[in-house]
């Protein structure tokens, strides 16, 4: 059945939409936790205690909460890197690779200009990080635009190339005698400032600003309008004179650039150096979050927060409950399952 309700009153839509989206996601996550509880119960653990551990370790203390935000930083940004191209129906599975290349470009800046002051060096590194990701994304975007290769496949395949390039650079070009699998530490000027005496870096706020920009561009600007038009009907948009190829390349590259920025943020804000295989699947996690949220900015914020709670809570569960860390993947999988099942699941109860 075609759902056409709810589009009539525009004015009151915004508030309602925010609240209803939030409630819906929270309900879904609750269901995921119930499923997860059953699994814990079967394996002889106390699910209530486990949940208590997860939440008290993450949301119960200022330190725990700050660690959630630290974990949230890269996946929030990579989720945006996937969400933007998804608006024109391009599937960017390559955020992981773009993140690596972005980090490498930023590292080059940090290692080449160690004497620059921070207020120049940091923006330069951000620019380089963005550029790196964009360059990496340009390959699938261009191949797609000339009708040669599907961007999903090529961006995915490039993911396994990127870490090898990083490895090559670290072991060769940026070889640091004191370190085995990483470059020399960045100078202080090349590190993103951290706040409140925690590990929350400027990167988190960069993520929030990007999210706000993403939302505003999609909603208010001419480009957002054209992007939405392409996403809804590419053929008609082309006939309407919207330059489809240019959008395909540009939007995909900007997406890649954002993922590259995530790499820069992690190298500069989290590690302060470039390590081989430093990404803990952030690109893929961002992909997951973006699709869970349906590319919706509020959804991205909520889902990346929830996933971060689960990820950082999982660390503790390993200690207190003696379950392997992999168990947390079960919870993530349940979340995914429930969210993807939402169309039939929650709409019927509404009607």
């Amino acid at each position: 059945m075609v759902q056409t309700e709810g589009l009539s009153r525009q004015a009151s839509l915004l508030n309602n939409k925010f609240v209803s989206t939030a409630i819906r996601y929270l309900l879904m996550i609750l269901v995921a936790f119930v499923f997860f509880g059953v699994i814990l119960l079967i394996s002889g653990k106390n699910p209530l205690q486990a949940f208590k551990d997860i939440f008290s370790s993450t949301l119960g203390s200022a330190y725990g909460f700050s660690e959630v935000l630290v974990a949230m930083t890269p996946i929030l940004i990579t989720a945006l890197a996937v969400a933007l191209p998804s608006k024109i129906m391009m599937i960017n599975v390559g955020a992981e690779g773009q993140l690596f290349i972005g980090a490498a470009f930023a590292t080059w800046g940090a290692l080449t200009f160690p004497n620059l002051p921070g207020w120049i060096l940091i923006p330069l590194m951000m620019l380089l990080g963005f550029l790196g990701g964009a360059v990496w994304a340009f390959i699938p975007a261009y191949l797609k635009s000339i009708g040669l290769v599907n961007e999903t496949i090529s961006s995915l395949l490039l993911n396994s190339v990127a870490p090898n390039i990083i490895g090559f650079l670290i072991y060769g070009f940026w070889y640091s005698p004191m370190d085995v699998n990483k470059t020399a530490n960045f100078v202080a000027a090349a590190r993103l400032p951290t706040f409140f005496g925690t590990r929350i870096s400027l990167g988190f706020f960069i993520g929030l600003v990007l999210l706000a920009i993403f939302w505003a561009v999609m909603k208010y600007t001419r480009w957002g309008l054209e992007i939405r038009a392409i996403g809804g009907n590419a053929q008609a948009s082309r006939r309407n004179g919207i330059p489809l190829k240019a959008y395909m390349i540009l939007v995909f590259c900007i997406g890649g650039g954002i993922a590259g920025l995530a790499g820069m943020v992690q190298a500069s804000g989290f590690y302060g150096t470039l390590i081989t295989n430093f990404s803990m699947g952030w690109g893929f996690m961002g992909f997951l979050i973006s699709w869970l949220a349906g590319g919706d900015p509020i959804g991205i914020l909520l889902m990346s927060f929830v996933v971060s709670v689960i990820l950082s809570g999982g660390n503790l569960l390993q200690i207190t409950q003696g379950v392997p860390y992999a168990v947390i993947n079960i919870l993530l999988a349940f979340t995914l399952f429930v969210v993807l099942a939402k169309p039939t699941f929650f709409k019927r109860s509404k009607a």
Binding site: E5, L225, A229, Q235, R239
Partner: protein, 517 residues
């Protein structure tokens, strides 16, 4: 007008008080409708009168807000098309639901309610053959559907319904896509089906068809039943009276603007060719001029390269040979955006697919062809007020009623969508209009308005390329008619130098001497 048709027989289907609202419109308002066995029941009405909505409710595609459906006196619930099929109700949509890569019998087999796990192709072929012989629905069961013409595909759809034991057949504007002789054949099939006790519901807005084949006629107007009468009580005048509240204005055919051949030609195609990729037709060696202030009509049976010709002019199809000139400049490689900037309006044959983004609100769709014009602060915002004003003005200019700006485009009926496209494309005074099937899906009133718009534009010196299958339209509007067949221009005439038969012959590929260019 009260319902004059009375019948002592119990209706097979009875719809009572069906009401359905969409955001901003009440598509059906307390509609009563009785369907009898062995009758062709025509559902007549303007675009947006609620015909399709009512039938989609009956077929379980939409849910009515209120109202009841009875089958042989018993209340039934139709929640889905599957329910409808269980009640032996079948529907042929305007867009067919066939799988092009499958053969005819495979497509039919997929639809059978009692399809076995192991297929018996021969059995199915036999069934298909039996039905097609009885009702003269001849199609080769082994042919791929992608090879069939539209008329044959429609036959397949009908066979599908008959084999799945449907007793009520709903046909949504079945003649829209058919050539005249195919329409005749379809009506023949319908009358045979009627003899065998089938109930047929025919959705249409063509009066002559209704009078030709219907037994009972229900006229809808603005979501309500305007009247229901038997064929013997109906006349053209009476039906028109029911369909429209006011009488129709006549087309003001002003004196034709003199084409100044000395004026700069707007469009000049010089032996242009395209490569037909996928399902598209390859254009071969097209030479065509459109001068300011003339209407060039393109006649042809659909699928002979008209869509590709439009796309070639627009810049959607790449020119693989020859040249394209706009205003004397070589535009062979120009982007669509640049071509549109020259003042080209494009009214495509299928607006939902080719002109709008269906889920976006009407008002946003209105901006899409000229986003730059409506942008403010260099694109950081959109000037919605200006857009709304200009949109309202444009609708008013054609006397079209303004749809709700915030409904998604896909919730508009076909006719309203076409009106929206016309209003959008003509909002600025275009220098060139490329119109494909301008009046398809439009009711009589809007058809007049759209044609009048073309004539007015011509008077202002606009060049117009009008692609159509409606020869009457082409002959009454065009200053020149070219005929397309299999991607080539096979004839070019002044309307007064030729006649419908000559053009008709050329359209179907018969060899007749070419007229003067």
């Amino acid at each position: 007008m009260t319902r004059s048709a009375t019948n002592t027989q119990q209706p097979l289907l009875s719809l009572q008080g069906i009401t359905k609202s969409f955001p901003g419109v009440r598509a059906n308002d307390a509609i009563d409708l009785d369907i009898f066995r062995s009758e062709v029941h025509a559902l007549l009405g303007e675009n947006g009168a609620g015909k399709s909505t009512l039938m989609k409710i009956l077929y379980g595609f939409y849910h009515a807000d209120s109202g009841k459906i009875f089958r042989e006196g018993q209340l039934v619930q139709i929640q889905s098309p599957a329910d409808a099929r269980n009640l032996q109700i079948g529907m042929v949509f305007q867009e067919f639901n066939l799988i092009p890569a499958f053969t005819v019998s495979e497509n039919i087999a997929l639809f059978l309610p009692d399809l076995k796990a192991v297929l018996h192709p021969r059995e199915i072929d036999a069934k298909v053959k039996e039905i097609s012989d009885r009702y003269e629905l001849h199609v080769d069961p082994h042919a791929l559907v992608s090879r069939l013409c539209i008329g044959e595909q429609q036959k397949v759809e009908i066979i599908k319904l008959l084999l799945s034991n449907s007793r009520v057949l709903i046909l949504d504007e079945p003649t829209r896509v058919l050539a005249p002789h195919e329409v005749k054949a379809l009506f023949g099939v319908l009358s045979k089906l009627r003899q065998d006790g089938y109930a047929i519901i025919l959705i249409t807005h063509k009066l002559n068809e209704v009078l030709e084949c219907a037994d009972r006629i229900t006229v809808l107007r603005k979501g309500r039943v305007a009247g229901s009468l038997l064929r013997k009580d109906a006349s053209e005048g009476k039906l028109i009276e029911l369909m429209f509240e006011k009488s129709l204005a006549k087309l003001k055919t002003k004196k034709r603007a003199l084409v100044q051949k000395s004026a700069q030609v707007f469009l000049h195609l010089d032996h242009a060719s395209t490569k037909g990729e996928g399902t598209s037709v390859a254009l071969k060696d097209i030479c065509l001029d459109v001068f300011p202030g003339e209407i060039v009509g393109v006649a042809g049976v659909s699928g002979n390269g008209q869509r590709e010709l439009g796309d070639l002019v627009l810049g959607m199809e790449r020119c693989t040979g020859g040249k394209k000139y706009l205003l004397g400049r070589d535009a062979t490689r120009w982007s669509i955006g640049k071509i549109r900037e020259q003042g080209l309006a494009f009214i495509p044959e299928n607006p939902l697919q080719m002109a709008v983004t269906p889920w976006m609100p009407v008002i946003e769709n209105m901006a899409l062809t000229r986003t730059r014009h409506y942008a403010k602060w260099g694109g950081l915002g959109m000037n919605w007020r200006k857009l709304a004003d200009e949109t309202r003005e444009s609708f008013a200019r054609f006397g079209f009623s303004v749809p709700s700006f915030y409904s998604p485009a896909r919730s508009l009926s076909g006719g309203n969508l076409q009106r929206m496209t016309i209003a959008r494309e003509m909002a600025f005074d275009p220098r060139f209009i490329l119109a494909s099937y301008l009046t398809s899906g439009l009711d009589v009133q809007s058809t007049l308005a759209a044609r009048q718009a073309l004539i007015d534009a011509r008077a202002k010196g606009t060049g117009i390329l009008l692609i159509s299958e409606d020869l009457e339209e082409l002959f009454s509007l065009s200053d020149r008619i070219v005929v397309m067949y299999e991607g080539q221009i096979v004839g070019s005439f002044k309307p007064e130098e030729t006649n419908v038969y000559q053009v008709g012959f050329l359209m179907t590929g018969s060899k007749v001497e070419h007229g003067a260019n």
